[in-house]
């Protein structure tokens, strides 16, 4: 099956300036399998997914590795959130757009 994965923020830059990614997976695949597939495409992004610095959402819920996927699911990769205003003493890291 083919799943479409939405990309946001710095991930669009890191994954070839696309806002969506299409990934071929076996029927009955899990989020862990999706992460492995992305790891082989882009090891940096794969590592951030494994460390859960980037999260996977399925149908607007944060998913864990065992969550099963279907081609009807709305899947997204979520880099660290940075909404709100810059009002705390946060460390900041940057990725060029």
């Amino acid at each position: 099956m083919t799943v479409t994965v939405k990309l946001f923020g710095m991930l669009k830059t890191q994954l070839h300036h696309e806002s969506e990614l299409t990934v071929r997976l076996d029927q009955g695949c899990k989020v862990d399998d999706l992460i492995a597939a992305i790891q082989s495409m882009n090891p940096d992004v794969g590592d951030l997914l494994l460390k859960r610095k980037i999260l996977v959402s399925v149908n607007h819920h944060i998913a864990h590795g065992e969550t099963e996927l279907t081609s009807a699911d709305e899947i997204a990769l979520l880099p660290p959130f940075s909404g709100g205003s810059c009002t705390s003493g946060e460390r900041t890291s940057y990725v060029y757009r």
Binding site: G9, A76, P79, F81, S82, G84, E90
Partner: protein, 147 residues
Amino acid sequence: MSTVDAEAMLVRVQRENFSIDEEINRVRNRSTRIGGIATFLGTARDRSEDRDVSRMTFEYYEGMAQKKLREIRDRALQDFDVIEVLVLHRYGEIDIGENIVLIVVGAMHRADAFKACKWCIDELKQITPIWKCEHTPDGQMWVEQHP
């Protein structure tokens, strides 16, 4: 306005700027029992750590961002002794000094209003899929904040 419409106005992600008077009135008009309204307004600063910032752009995940903001409002109404909560975040290009995010909490007692308001903005930053890109002299950068 029906109750459903009025409630929908209390949680929004929108491009346009907003009037704080108007948003406070949405909360105030929900009950004459309200005696204290605590508000947090986030504005665009011209510095981010040691970098000059000339402008910023916010991107959000349509659908999921609104869902998370609704969750924040619902949990604040449930966990704090407050009467009404409004949560509003802008997206798109935002100039220095402009409004980014607004939380308004109406309560009978001011201490509860403050506590809930602070909790909402802290929680918003943790769980809402919104991303900021800063325009700096070195180019545009996606910001990743570590509390």
